[in-house]
Symmetry: C2
Subunit: 102 residues, 2 copies
DNA sequence: TCAATAGTACGACAACTATCGTAGTTCGAC
DNA sequence: GTCGAACTACGATAGTTGTCGTACTATTGA
C-alpha cells in the first residue's frame, strides 16, 4: 500500500519550522549532502553518525518542516530538497544557509 | 561596574546557533521588531508575551548566538542587530529570514 | 538616603527532543 | 513462499529549553 508520508503544502511551510529543522548539526549536514549530490538520493545513502531510527526521526523533522520531500521507490525512500518551494516562500534563505561556512 | 555581557566574535558565530536562535517565535518576533525600528532600542521597549526573566533568557540566547549586540546605557540595555557581522558571515541569511512572511 | 526603574541570576518545573533498541512493514530477489 | 534490505513505529531515557517566580544589582531621581 503505497501510502505516502505526509508533506506540508508550500503555503503551509512555516519559517520557524524550517529554521528549527536546519538548526540541528545532523540535519544540516544531511541537507548539505543532499544539496551537494544534487539529485535525489536514498535516505540511507548519506552517512550520518546516528542509528537508523534516529536518522528516521531527523528525516521526519526535515520532511514535516517542508525542507525535503520523500518518495518511495522500491524498498528505498528517495529524498530531495524542496528547493522550488523554499525559494518561492523564503527567497535566498536556502542558499544562504547552504553556502555558509561550516 | 560596567562589566559588559559577553558576545561572540564575528568569526565565532556558528550557523547552527543563529538558526536555533531565530527558530523560536518569541525571539524571531523580537528580532523583527528590532529590524523594523531600525535604531537600537532598550530591551524592554519591545513588547513580548513573556515575563521579564523569560525575556532576559531569550535575549541571552540571541546575544550568545551573535544575532544581537547589547550595550549598557544607564539602567537600560540597548539591543541592536549585528547586521554587519551576520551579513559578512552569512550573506543574505538575515534578509531572507526577516523578509519572510509571518 | 530612599524609592523606583531596568535588567540579570538562580532555582524549579514541565515540555520538548535527540538518542537508542527492538519490533514491525514493505518490497525485491532467490 | 522465504529471506534480506530499507525504512518506519513505538517505547524509554537523558539532556535541553522555555517558562515562571523570587531575589539580586545597578543607575537615576526626588
Amino acid at each position: 500500500m503505497s501510502e505516502d508520508l505526509p508533506h506540508p503544502d508550500r503555503a503551509e511551510i512555516r519559517i520557524e519550522a524550517v529554521l528549527h529543522a536546519l538548526a540541528d548539526p545532523v540535519r544540516l549536514h544531511y541537507v548539505r549532502e543532499l544539496d551537494r549530490i544534487g539529485t535525489g538520493v536514498a535516505c540511507g545513502a548519506i552517512e550520518l553518525p546516528v542509528t537508523k531510527s534516529t536518522r528516521t526521526h531527523h528525516l521526519r523533522t526535515l520532511r514535516e518542516a517542508g525542507v525535503i520531500r520523500m518518495r518511495k521507490e522500491g524498498t528505498a525512500r528517495i529524498a530531495t530538497i524542496r528547493r522550488d518551494d523554499l525559494d518561492a516562500r523564503y527567497p535566498g534563505l536556502l542558499n544562504a544557509v547552504l553556502s555558509a561556512e561550516s
